[in-house]
Amino acid sequence: MLTYATRRLILSIPTLIFISFIIFMLLQLAPGDPMAQVPLTVPDEVKQKMREALGLGEPPLVQYWKWLVQVFWIEPKVFIDWLFGTQLAWHWEAPTFTPTDSLLASMQEAGRVREVNGEMQLWVPEQRNISWQTRSPVMDIIIQRIPQTLKVVGVAYIVAILIALPVGIYSAYRQYSVFDQAGTFVTMIGFSIPPFFTGPLLIVIFSVQLGWFPSIYDTTLVVDDWASFKLQLQQMIMPVMVLALQITAQLSRYMRASMLDNLGQDYVRTARAKGLSEAIVVNVHVVRNSMIPVITVIALGIPSIFGGAIITENVFKVNGIGQLLITALFANDLPMVMTLTFIFAVLIVLFNLIADILYGVLDPRIRYD
């Protein structure tokens, strides 16, 4: 199992690099210009200068290589620095600007100045992958956004799982009962109503008409007491509802199908022949087996937590990863788009692998070597 996992992991590296290359070339081909948001009052020469300052003039392959180095080499170092306070992501470099005397003095004091062959060098942090929109490291922004996404989409996912599994189990156990039919109907509705329809609808009803929940998600809210917790709940309810409806729909269908498959199996009869109660037969023997495919479906759905909720995030102004991607896209912030799509790709590949491994863990019949 371990070799299997490592082998898959290592094999996925070239795949990922290839994917990143394709995405990069795709984005290169894409039209659009990060300067599109700069007002027309700024003349073209100035925009050209700004582009050059962003490194846009360089050949694509050079840009790609820089991106690779920044993401795979410098960012991990920055991360380690942040963890342990080391200075791995720093290096000596001839100054790119003329430091003022006071600055020089303070740097000298910190031991950040040296002389090599008569040339002055400074101890400075390495160039990280910088977002064109914000001029700040892409990773920092992404890390800042992840909690928002996780909170809303993650809660929606958990809520959905908690609802979907019992519904699926019961619908399958009582196939074609009223509960099953109703469940099918509701899940179908959940499947069918797009979030860009439900979202605004909910806002009009609950925010505008009833005034119960805020229409705009407050990402600065800090939950530290009961009141703020209530606020957090209020602002989360609508986006969570919209998202959970869809996920529930999907998962409960899977669970039901998987349960139906297993209920007809011979071992169920064996369990009954042992005189076990129905509750144990269904909830232990059948559910345990039925969960195997469903767990992998759940695992495969996790990458979409990070990107799939774009429209819902947009509608409710939950400024999470999805919203980040779409604004970056419209602003042509290539480093951001590139890094985000690449992260999604990593997640997809990774969770594919995790799903496979989970399958092996849950199902003793499957052993990878």
Partner: protein
């Protein structure tokens, strides 16, 4: 019409007074979309303490339905007990009618007072729980044991069913056990709470002869030791002869005959029972005959029972055939080992004759058969079919060569495409090779249907509408379409009911006599092999350990493995029961060897003309 419980059980009849279970006019119905289907129409019989009652009958006759009804599990399968009584003598509390019992009461009876063993050992166990857990579950529910107590008892049970290394087994998952071991676990599970009645629904059908023999011996011993009454369901008459005290014969939902085992075998009354017994090939029937001859079926008068001579012309010569499957592993998915599926196999087959390959599951029979057609690529060796060197052919040459040799597969349900009409399936080889125009093909297909005795009205039907035997005939028709010289029949009759099996076997022999076909007949059923073969090869671990004329091999087995195999075959004669002590099997060693392992050549000693016995190491 039946006699009552007079002199029933020859063994352990001392305490046989009150029947432990009495089924009275049981009727079970299923509601399906085509209306009500009757699973069991009218069944009455009883089981006395310490007695083994065998229920026999063809597939679909209602054997499983009656046993499931007794457990009241039939409701979960959509069935409904529409009438009749099932009186059960509870340990305490006297006799009660299970047909009307509450499910909560049933829950107490199931597993506790009635144990059940199911047919399919793999699917009957929950794949995700350990053996130990599944064994202890019932104990903890019914006996209120603690975990440790239950485990101790489970261990004891595993010992009782003679599983090697029982401690280790408890922690293993079902798939880690072999089929035989799994079936023992199922038996241990059924016996866990010391039930008074044990229902065994075809407990050995899916197993190899050797393992079957062991399991049967085991059940017999357990019954004798604990005095449990057994209701044993099977369609295998030989097993009945080995196990039963009394026999109930079922036919299409009804009981047609009941009696002691000797009565049934020696003096069957009902026509169906007679026909059934006639259709069962019995090992030893051919003793003294050199050539195979078709079976005599009751009620058929038009049969040609002449022995099949075949010719002396060599059709197929196989020399030193080796086929291995790579086992990938390690970090780089390199081949780390090989499954030595067939190892240095050589034989010759003459035109119009049958060569049988027998042996236990996994010994490489199918691989050998497939290698002949190069459906799996052999590693080395020589295959010469009527002058064509099969091994040397290119893919297109191979395609042409396959006109000369065809294959029939084991599973009649899997070997036909469910989506195609039968006529199209039979016509497919003709179309593939561009033989004949559209109407010629139609004629030819119609003729083939006649040949295999299927009505032409079946031509436009789909496989699912046919019974197993009919499907197998379609497969035969398809194989015959190209007029091949050689047919490889891989367990072609193993999945069929005895009665149907007899017909298909006869059909194949008939065709052989008429068309001069050569068969490579692969089977693990020694009785059938005895009936059809000219030559027999016994395989063990990829090698042929004994090869020779059928008579020589069957009447004078030389290799120890052949001897053991012969002993394990149950004989359809209640007076020739086997004793447990005769049985002595070693588990088959693994055919997997690391890369680089070089298997030695097969060296044979010719004990009599054409009768070769392996003298080099076979692993046995």
């Amino acid at each position: 019409m039946l006699d009552d419980t007079t002199d029933t059980a020859a063994t352990g009849a001392a305490e046989a007074q009150v029947p432990i279970a009495r089924i009275d006019k049981l009727r079970v119905e299923f509601q399906t979309k085509d209306g009500t289907v009757v699973g069991v129409e009218d069944i009455s019989f009883e089981i006395n303490p310490g007695e083994t009652v065998c229920v026999v009958g063809e597939s679909g006759s209602g054997k499983s339905v009656s046993s499931l009804s007794l457990m009241r599990l039939i409701e979960y399968g959509g069935g409904d007990i529409a009438g009749g009584k099932m009186l059960f003598d509870r340990r305490e509390g006297g006799v009660m009618d299970l047909a009307t019992a509450d499910q909560s009461v049933m829950r107490h009876i199931r597993g506790n007072e009635i144990g059940m063993i199911f047919q399919e050992p793999m699917t009957a166990l929950n794949p995700v729980f350990t053996v130990g857990r599944q064994l202890t579950e019932g104990l903890r529910v019914h006996r209120g044991m603690s975990k440790a107590q239950a485990e101790a008892r489970a261990l004891e049970l595993l010992r009782e069913v003679r599983i090697p290394e029982p401690e280790r087994r408890l922690k293993q998952y079902p798939h880690e056990l072999s089929g035989g071991m799994r079936q023992r676990v199922v038996i241990a599970m059924a016996l866990a709470c010391k039930p008074r009645l044990l229902i065994a629904d075809e407990p050995t059908t899916a197993l190899d002869v050797t393992i079957q023999a062991e399991i049967l011996a085991l059940m017999d011993r357990l019954k004798r030791e604990t005095g449990t009454a057994v209701m044993f369901i099977t369609h295998d008459m030989a097993v009945v002869a080995q196990m039963a005290d009394r026999v109930v014969v079922m036919f299409r939902g009804k009981k047609v005959e009941e009696g002691t085992v000797e009565e049934i075998f020696e003096n069957p009354k009902h026509a169906y029972t007679k026909a059934l017994l006639a259709a069962v090939p019995k090992l030893g029937e051919m003793t003294g005959k050199d050539l195979p001859e078709p079976m005599r079926l009751v009620g058929r008068t038009d049969q040609n029972l002449d022995p099949i001579k075949g010719s002396d012309e060599v059709l197929l010569r196989v020399e030193n055939l080796v086929t291995r499957f790579p086992v990938k592993g390690g970090f780089f998915r390199r081949t780390v080992a090989n499954v030595h599926a067939t190892e240095d196999v050589s034989f010759t087959l003459n035109k119009g004759r049958t060569l049988s390959l027998v042996g236990e599951s996994g010994c490489g029979k199918s691989t050998a058969g497939r290698s002949l057609l190069r459906l799996v690529e052999p590693l080395s060796g020589k295959i010469d079919l009527d002058g064509t060197d099969i091994m040397a052919l290119s893919q297109s040459g191979l395609r042409d060569a396959r006109r000369e040799m065809q294959m029939i597969f084991q599973d009649p349900f899997a070997s036909l495409n469910p989506q195609l009409q039968l006529a199209d399936q039979v016509a497919e080889p003709l179309v593939n090779y561009g033989i004949g125009s559209g109407s010629e093909i139609q004629d030819k297909v119609a003729n083939l249907f006649d040949r295999v005795e299927l009505p032409r009205s079946f031509m436009r039907r789909y496989p699912h509408e046919l019974s197993g035997g009919q499907r197998q005939r379609i497969a035969i028709a398809r194989a015959l379409a190209l007029n091949p010289k050689l047919i490889v029949a891989d367990e072609a009759v193993s999945a069929l009911d005895v009665s149907v099996q007899a017909q298909v076997v006869n059909l194949m022999m008939e065709l052989q006599a008429e068309l001069g076909l050569g068969y490579v007949f692969i089977s693990h059923d020694m009785a059938v092999v005895e009936r059809v073969s000219h030559t027999v090869g016994v395989m063990y671990l990829g090698r042929i350990v004994e090869l020779g004329p059928r008579r020589a091999v069957f009447e004078d087995p030389q290799h120890p493995y052949t001897k053991a195999l012969m002993k394990a075959v149950p004989i359809a004669d209640p007076r020739r029961r086997k004793a447990e002590k005769d049985l002595n099997f070693k588990p088959i060693p693994s055919p997997i060897h690391p890369v680089g392992y070089e298997a030695g050549p097969s060296v044979y000693e010719e004990v009599s003309p054409g009768h070769l016995v392996l003298t080099s190491d076979s692993g046995y």
